[in-house]
């Protein structure tokens, strides 16, 4: 480890994050401070009891059970295939030493017999192997890009040698204020096992501690490869020095149960705790795990003072009273805290990535940039329970196909059905409106209204398509959510509420208030809903289909067409000239020379005339020829059209004014160059 630290590239790596010296629970550190009053800190105590798995050993009274349900640790059934025995030995002997900030407690204080127990457990764990298929070979560079862009850095440490695109060249990259969830074992993992873990973390950690980021196998391998870069297997030198004889797998297996490792970890089926620990009602707040001096065999968490205070407050409260009833809103908040949804999402003013982490979230679509944060940050979740339908909540939380923001680099991870399905009930209950908006969605009976809705969405109506695409069609402007799945996704009441007053309904939306002062807003919104409901088989709104022909046709006009644009091969200051004779040229007004000539069709003006993206255009015709570079110092002055519309390009060549004209003659270009009144001619044939 020390040698790895000394090389500069390694120092930049996420594995080299500042070490954390206490059992790190992200949301606890995010939302609880030493100066907070007891009434608040006790809530943090509950969070720690659940997240640090206290209740796996210490039972709580019935009324507290649901809230403080334990959160199982990693499944160890194939851990021997993931970690070599030295890494296992180090982790078992002192988890806090091997993985700073880990939530795993240590069990050994170095008393007599501890060394043998550690060795036995190591032997047992090393014996747990299961063959796993080879995943594709990973690409370190791609992995680095993915690690920083798909959302890993919402919780984990960004590398100091990765610069988010959004940070201006003049700004230094701000470091996260909040510590990162440690990944200090990533490099000890076998690289293929790491890729498997990244691809399907829930099968290793069913509690959703690490969510499924919906990575492909290739992407998982790429990130594994990046996390593995420059690592060498770690040697437990102390283990070698101790020279403990083999203890036998059976002894380790027995210890695994006796020492209550099974309280958190599953290794083999049918293992269970032989004796229970003290129930919370009988706990003393200065003994056991909370004692000042650790005892061997008693779990030792590295708790800081605030964590100890929080746990003591929680224990005393549980001993005193029944669990207070929680509203649906509080239950949502509790579950979002446990799952760390707040690392990415803001809900009711709480959470969302801190700025130094938010800057890594990016967009893969250039035309989304003007949407600001809406283009890259996970959405605000205010009122989401009355926004999304149950079916869509299921898709988003633990199903497939719930993503509607393909322009974002990040993805909504999957935390496992067991961890999230309660939200499908809780969110709608929590977010209901006192007086729900009324909407009549009986559109089928009044079928004609779908057509009205289509008209409103189109370019001659309210032009929803300026920003929203539909089906396979992009919008005319920014790539805001396509409306294809609207009726499956949104509750109709919310749809209407949003359209009537976007800014008040959805915090931070850029949607313009299109229905202000419209007398028939009710009916119009219902018609749009009806259209979206019946969209299969319906024509798309006016304007989405580009029916106009933007091809420039000089032969039809009977005169040359001069057209400035971004032209492939002629740069961003190009001037295209199309002649009715069917041969064309492009002039680069920076280099002041003819760069391309071609035959047949000229150019398509769509990019200039209709789209927002302003993509470079390609010569449409055939026989495209690139002309040789020019010499001399040149400066563009413009052009002059003669009576027939033929342009003469004007520029300075080494301080002398030049007039440069192409004219089609018998399928070739005749070029005339005038310098100081002296004309020379050449023929361009190709």
């Amino acid at each position: 480890m020390i040698t790895a630290l000394s090389t500069p590239s390694a120092r930049a790596h996420p594995l080299q994050a500042e070490p954390i010296n206490h059992a790190y629970v992200f949301n606890f550190d995010q939302f609880f401070l030493p100066e907070d009053p007891d009434e608040h800190v006790v809530e943090g105590g509950y969070l720690l009891m659940a997240e640090l798995n206290c209740t796996a050993c210490h039972s709580v009274p019935e009324s507290w059970k649901a809230r403080l349900s334990a959160k199982p640790g990693p499944n160890l059934s194939a851990v021997g295939a993931r970690l070599d025995s030295d890494s296992l030995w180090l982790m078992v002997r002192s988890p806090q030493h091997r993985k700073k900030g880990t939530q795993m407690p240590g069990l050994f204080t170095g008393e007599d017999g501890d060394a043998e127990k550690v060795e036995a457990l190591t032997e047992y764990l090393s014996s747990l192997k299961k063959p796993e298929p080879r995943l594709p070979k990973g690409d370190e560079e791609r992995g680095k890009e993915l690690y920083h862009k798909v959302g890993c850095v919402a919780c984990h440490e960004p590398a100091t040698d990765f610069r988010p695109e959004k940070v201006s060249a003049e700004m230094s990259v701000e470091k996260p204020g909040l510590a990162s969830i440690p990944i200090a074992l990533a490099d000890a993992y076998d690289v293929n096992a790491l890729a498997h873990f990244l691809h399907d973390p829930l099968s290793h950690r069913p509690s959703g501690r690490m969510p499924n980021m919906r990575l492909t196998k290739q992407e998982a391998s790429d990130i594994a490869s990046y996390l593995h870069s420059g690592r060498t297997a770690e040697k437990a030198t102390e283990r070698a020095a101790l020279k403990i004889p083999a203890q036998g797998v059976e002894k380790g297996k027995a210890l695994f149960t006796q020492m209550k490792c099974v309280a958190c970890h599953q290794a083999e089926p049918s293992q269970s705790m032989s004796t229970a620990a003290k129930p919370v009602l009988n706990l003393k707040t200065k003994a056991g795990c909370l004692a000042d001096k650790p005892t061997s065999g008693i779990p030792r968490y590295d708790l800081n003072d605030l964590q100890k205070r929080a746990l003591r407050l929680a224990i005393t409260t549980i001993q005193k009273q029944q669990a207070p009833a929680m509203t649906a809103m509080q239950k949502v908040d509790w579950q979002m805290s446990r799952l760390n949804c707040y690392a990415c999402h803001d809900r009711d003013g709480k959470g969302g990535p801190e700025d130094p982490r938010a800057q890594y979230f990016g967009s893969n679509d250039g035309s989304a940039e003007s949407l600001g944060e809406l283009a890259h940050l996970p959405p605000n979740l205010d009122n989401v329970g009355r926004k999304l339908t149950r079916g869509w909540l299921q898709k988003v939380l633990y199903g497939e196909g719930g993503s509607v923001r393909p322009y974002m680099d990040t993805r909504m991870p999957h935390f496992g059905q067991a961890q999230t399905e309660m939200l499908v009930d809780l969110l709608p209950e929590s977010d209901q409106r006192e007086k729900p908006v009324k909407i009549d969605v009986s559109g089928l009976e009044k079928h004609h209204r779908a057509e009205l809705g289509r008209g409103l969405m189109g370019s001659t109506g309210l032009a929803c398509i300026s920003c929203h695409g539909l089906k396979d069609r992009k919008s005319l402007g920014p790539p805001v959510i396509r409306l294809t799945h609207t009726v499956d996704r949104l509750q109709p009441e919310y749809f209407k509420e949003l359209l009537l007053n976007p800014q008040a309904t959805q915090v931070g939306t850029m949607m313009p208030p299109m229905f202000i002062g419209r007398k028939k807003a009710d009916q119009e919104i219902e018609s749009i809903w009806t259209y979206l409901k019946e969209i299969e088989g319906q024509p798309l709104p006016e304007g989405l289909l580009s029916t106009e022909d933007f091809e420039l046709k000089p032969e039809k006009l009977g005169r040359p067409i001069v057209f400035r644009s971004f032209i492939e091969g002629a740069g961003s200051h190009a001037i295209g000239i199309g002649f009715p004779e069917g041969i064309h040229a492009a002039f680069d007004s920076v280099q002041c020379r003819w760069v391309l000539i071609w035959k047949g069709r000229f150019l398509d003006a769509m990019s200039n005339w209709q789209s927002r993206e302003m993509l470079p255009i390609k010569p449409l015709g055939t026989d495209l020829k690139t002309l040789p570079q020019a010499t001399g110092v040149r400066e563009f002055n413009g052009y002059r059209l003669n009576k027939d519309g033929v342009p003469t390009m004007l520029y300075q060549l080494d301080g002398q004014p030049v007039e440069d004209t192409l004219r089609p003659v018998d399928g070739r270009f005749e070029r005339s160059i005038k310098i100081k009144g002296q004309e020379s001619k050449e023929v361009l044939s190709w």
Binding site: K166, S168, A169, E170, M171, S172, D355, A358, Q359, G366, S367, E369, S370, L371, G372, E373, L374, T460, G461, L462, A463, C464, S466, C467, L476, G477, P478, N501, Q503, A504, M510, P512, P513, M514, I516, G517, V562, F563, R564, F566, G571, S572, H573, S589, A605, N608, W609, Q610, R612, E613, M614, L615, P616, F636, N637, G638, Y639, R640, L641, L650
Partner: protein
């Protein structure tokens, strides 16, 4: 929460105002446009003979022979194509006998040397800024200063750059700047920095240059700024070019992310506050072109004030500015909303009516037509409005367009707040406090009203929603909302 509820209150108010009939004071005349031409009007120049030159985004310039003709049919207006083939024109000016258009990559001077009514000379009048191929690199202007130098504004680069643009894809020069092209030269260089999407550039009555920018990163809400040499208005992307020897802007050692604009004045050396902030949503979402009313009163009682286009609400806001300690600051007022399409640019015709150029390509607007031209023609009935709002040593002075009756001034809702200078998109209104108002005093002639305020804060917007006010002729106050950007307390 305070911010939120107040903001929504104002929002509801402005919706209500939309319904009010502005036709009492200004008639809206919609100009018919030739079929087959998307008249996405992005630049308007009035020629000495009263004709109107219209630049459109697809790269053409049209001349309208009789822009005030009614009924405004194509035949009556008389459209004539003057120039074509240019690359997204977003600005047009008439200067010393010639038309100047701003394309993506250059300013071009157009001349009709043979007098056949269409341009035959397309001369490069200014160039030298970077064009990387990214879609957001819009270029606006020009305007000409007192000495005949040309000024333009350039968006900062957003979106994907194009490798085909060569070195300019790696670093496009002067993006997010206002540029100057000295008289006699055709090469532009940086003049002031820190813009995001400065869609408006115009002169005030004194010939000072003003820009209008749009909310986004490093731009907390849409501002109107006084453009002068070496000023830096806060957007970080422009600072890369501040290191050049040609740069008149001294780059701050460090730009702080997330401090208030009031703090930035002291903590970021060189940072200049805009003269006026237009609070988001209340005054729309994106300012566009701006123009000073030099109609000599023909357009109404707002002579020498600035009118600023508003894209999303398809409207126009009004801005009054004054100089405090030699620096411009002032107030904004709603003017009209609900035009047929997004306002991009505006100007005044020789008859004193306002002509508005419109296009909503790329972003939606309340007005649902894709493009067009409309005129606002004063009906002769003078609206009762706050004509000016001036800062006093310990309060404000409102001057009305007509004498008003006294009312219950305690019904005034007023607050001050500031904004964050941040790399995030826009800023909420931060640190809001209700204004402590006392000593309302209406002058004997009923035209001016003063109020004392015990908690004025420099660097803060002071926003007022006045009570219902009735004029001595029983007319109702047209707009009750106004917001004064108090950069300096007199």
């Amino acid at each position: 929460m305070v911010t939120k509820s107040l903001a929504l209150g104002f929002l509801a108010l402005s919706y209500q105002l939309l319904a009010q009939d502005q036709a009492d004071y200004y008639r809206t005349v919609t100009l018919e446009t030739p079929s087959g031409v998307n008249m996405e009007a992005s630049g308007l120049a009035v020629l000495p003979d009263g004709k109107l030159a219209v630049a459109i985004r697809k790269g053409e310039v049209w001349i309208i022979q009789n822009p005030s003709a009614e009924p405004p049919t194509v035949a009556n207006l008389g459209y004539q194509l003057f120039a074509s083939g240019m690359h997204e024109i977003l600005g047009l000016a008439y200067h010393e006998g010639d038309l100047y258009v701003t394309q993506r990559s250059e300013v071009t001077r157009l001349r009709d040397t043979d007098g056949d009514g269409s341009a035959d000379e397309y001369q490069t009048a200014s160039k030298g800024w970077g064009v990387s191929g990214a879609y957001h690199e819009y270029a606006y202007g020009p305007v000409f200063d007192r000495d005949g130098n040309m000024h333009n504004t350039l968006n900062c680069t957003m979106g994907k750059t194009w490798s085909g643009a060569g070195d300019e894809a790696k670093h496009p020069l002067w993006r997010g700047w206002s540029i100057i092209t000295p008289k006699g030269s055709t090469t532009a260089s940086g003049f002031s920095a820190g813009f995001r999407s400065p869609c408006g550039i115009g002169l005030n009555a004194e010939g000072d240059i003003f820009g209008a920018d749009q909310q986004g990163n490093w731009t907390p809400t849409s501002p109107i700024m006084h453009i002068r040499k070496g000023a830096f208005f806060g957007h970080a992307d422009s600072l890369a070019d501040a290191k050049r020897t040609a740069s008149p802007v001294k780059p701050p050692a460090k730009l702080l992310d997330g401090i208030t604009v009031a703090e930035a004045v002291t903590q970021v050396p060189g940072y200049c506050l805009p003269a006026v902030w237009l609070p988001y949503v209340k005054f729309g979402q994106s300012t566009t072109g701006l123009r000073c009313d030099l109609t000599g009163g023909k357009f109404g009682p707002f002579e020498k004030q600035m009118f600023v286009g508003e894209f999303v609400l398809s409207g126009i806001n009004r801005v009054f500015m004054e100089k405090i300690d030699g620096e411009y600051q002032g107030a904004c007022f709603p003017f009209v909303n609900g035009l047929q399409s997004a306002t991009l640019t505006l100007n005044f015709l020789t008859d004193g009516s306002m002509i508005v150029g419109q296009s909503n390509r790329g972003w939606n607007s309340y007005g649902n037509r894709a493009y067009g031209l409309q005129r606002l023609v004063p009906t002769g009935k003078v609206p009762l409005e706050v004509m000016k709002m001036e800062a006093l040593k310990g309060g404000f002075k409102f001057t009305f367009t007509q004498p008003i009756k006294p009312t219950d001034w305690s019904k005034t809702k007023a607050q001050n707040y500031t904004y964050l200078l941040t790399s995030k998109y826009g800023s909420p209104e931060v640190d809001p406090k209700p204004l402590q108002l006392t000593d309302w005093n209406l002058s004997a002639d009923g035209l001016s009203l003063t109020v004392k305020c015990s908690n004025l804060r420099a660097g803060y917007v002071h926003e007022f929603e006045l009570p219902e006010i009735t004029g001595q002729n029983n007319q109702k106050l047209w707009h009750r909302l106004c917001a004064y950007t108090l950069n300096r307390i007199p």
